[in-house]
């Protein structure tokens, strides 16, 4: 039985290593993209659309940071859609009315429905959707609009950073987002980015032509990304443009978020399964399938490796008992007995992780914590594996996870 496990670990490690090497090769080719600085010459009018539901604690901060950004005031329109809030969101936003912030109220229908409602009110050529708990960096919008100079670009995303960096969980997520930003930029450099989270700039004409956000999915940001790329348009990523977001600070809220993300991605990929294949180049043949299976690879390596190790541990305990726990004989009999596929896998996983860390740190000019990275690799990966299993379970049982 253990030979089957070794074989599975071998295959899974091969696939995992292949994917990692591919991204490293891509980075070596596209490193310049991380340092590109586009200059904006014209300032088109942008409507900022903020869907809000029970956001009283955070919305004024969001609006204040928005009003401070470096963009001509007369070219900026701020629209908040109150998605059936039962708290003081509406009152708080109304106070910003004198600063030009418009607010509309509707019955609760979810973020996508709020966005679609707001889109009807947008008349500018560009719309920026902004989550209620996200704060834009001052120069973020300028940088996003600059990316629109490429006609193929239908949408622009930003690098996401954690705003509430108080606890261990948040700091681990900050490392995680650094890696996500890195991989988003890499995939964007070959026009294969397919997700549009947190704060996204769109050409309004896309929605007029192809419809708005999918109101049935749990992850409308992934779905819209797939929709845009399915029509052969591009999503650009301005790497040094930042948006700060509030991340979950407890494991249970993190779990709910991540299970929702993974479940949503399964459902969205199912909806857009026509995108898998040669027609969409590397996106359809490599990136999208990889999004589907990369956590599966993680689970296999972690849990099979763990099972194997626990099994061997008890087997060894049994032998030790027969030897009256004499460790000297135990190790002298077969000193190489512990060197097998798992050591090989562990070594290379560690090596690849280290290389990735070095590359990500390069792009961030050193601003990433080694300590939290180590915690991320050693502990957080187990959480991710568990969340993935839960998401797969929901998907297979055809049940929707609770928000």
């Amino acid at each position: 039985m253990l030979d089957v496990i070794t074989l599975i670990l071998l295959v899974v490690s091969f696939i995992g290593m292949y994917i990692s090497i591919w991204f490293i090769l891509l980075f070596l080719e596209k490193e310049g993209e991380f340092h590109k600085r586009l200059v904006l010459k014209k300032f088109p009018k942008v409507s900022v659309l903020i869907p809000a539901h029970n956001a009283e604690k955070i919305i004024s901060r969001t609006l204040n940071s928005l009003l401070k950004i470096d963009y001509p005031k007369n070219k900026l329109e701020v629209i908040v859609v109150d998605d059936g809030s039962s708290d003081r969101t509406h009152e708080i936003v109304k106070k910003f009315g004198k600063k030009g912030v418009k607010i509309y109220k509707k019955k609760w229908g979810g973020k996508a429905s709020a966005l679609n409602y707001g889109l009807k009110k947008v008349q500018s050529n560009f719309v920026l959707t902004l989550d209620a708990d996200c704060f834009l960096a001052k120069d973020a919008l300028k940088k996003m609009v600059a990316e629109m100079q490429d006609k193929r670009t239908m949408s622009v995303v930003l690098s996401i950073e954690v705003f509430n960096k108080k606890g261990i969980l948040q700091n681990i997520q900050n490392v995680e987002y650094s890696f996500l930003n890195f991989f988003k930029k890499l995939t964007a450099s070959i026009y294969c980015l397919s997700v549009a989270p947190a704060a996204v700039l769109y050409r309004t004409k896309f929605f007029r032509k192809y419809g708005g956000f999918d109101e049935k999915t749990l992850t409308e940001d992934f779905e819209i990304g797939l929709k845009i790329t399915s029509h052969q348009y591009n999503i650009a990523h301005t790497f040094d443009g930042k948006v700060y977001t509030i991340v979950p600070d407890t494991i249970s809220s993190l779990m709910r978020q991540r299970v929702r993300w993974r479940y949503g991605s399964f459902m969205d990929l199912k909806k857009h399964k026509k995108m898998l294949g040669l027609r969409y180049g590397d996106l359809g043949t490599f990136i999208l399938p990889m999004i589907l299976v990369y956590t599966g690879i993680l689970i296999t390596i972690l849990f099979l490796g763990l099972f194997n190790t626990v099994y061997e541990f008890f087997h060894s305990l049994n032998i030790l008992e027969l030897m009256s726990y004499n460790l000297r004989i135990f190790f002298s009999i077969n000193p190489l007995q512990f060197i097998d596929m798992r050591i090989f896998t562990l070594f290379f996983v560690g090596l690849i992780a280290l290389i990735n860390f070095i590359l990500v740190r390069k792009t961030k000019r050193g601003k990433i914590s080694l300590f939290y990275f180590v915690v991320y690799i050693l502990i957080y990966s187990w959480l991710q594996a568990i969340f993935e299993l839960i998401a797969v379970a929901y998907f297979l049982l055809k049940k929707k996870p609770k928000w």
């Binding site: 591919w22 070959i190 294969c192 180049g281 359809g284 004989i329 009999i333 077969n334 190489l336 007995q337």
Partner: protein, 211 residues
Amino acid sequence: MWKRNLNTGRHLQSLIVTLSIFALGIFLGFYISEMRIKGMLTTYESLTLKINGAILQTRVLEGELCNYDVLSIAGKEKVELGNQITELEGLRGKTDEEVLRLKENYSLLSINQLLLLEEWTKECNKNISVIIFFYSNTENATTSEEQGFVLDNIYEKYPNKIVIYAFDINIDNPAVNILIKKYDIRTAPTLVINEKVYLGFQSREKIESLI
């Protein structure tokens, strides 16, 4: 309309690099086991020379047997060689040709030594217990394995009081077969402690009481 392309060049490069890394790992594994085998053959050869030398000496120089420390030949080197063969078994599997050949040579070596030792303990009144361990990797393999660990432990405790010889009953070797016939061995594990036969697994306490 603009389309995304599939960059086959990059995929080919990744495949080559990944295959190279895996090939390197596999090669390293083979290299290590080859090195271990070379080391074992050297030990085996030196041990054979020692034992044959001892046998010759005792035959030629009558009455010299008791001045000879036969136990020193049956000591550390032999045990180490036995352990190395176990290690190779683990690396290459119990049916590997190289492993089986080494085991057969080791068995012949052991029998030569065993005969010499039995003569030495009888004639020279030495208080050494000789344990012959018949094992199998096919029938009752786990019990044989466990018996082996118990014996390793006992040898560690009483290295100057006992000598252990282990023979695989599945090896079709005339010398081993003679021993099997002599003690009428039918199953494994079976222990022969000071010429008395004990069938099945024997615990540490039981063996300690007999030596």
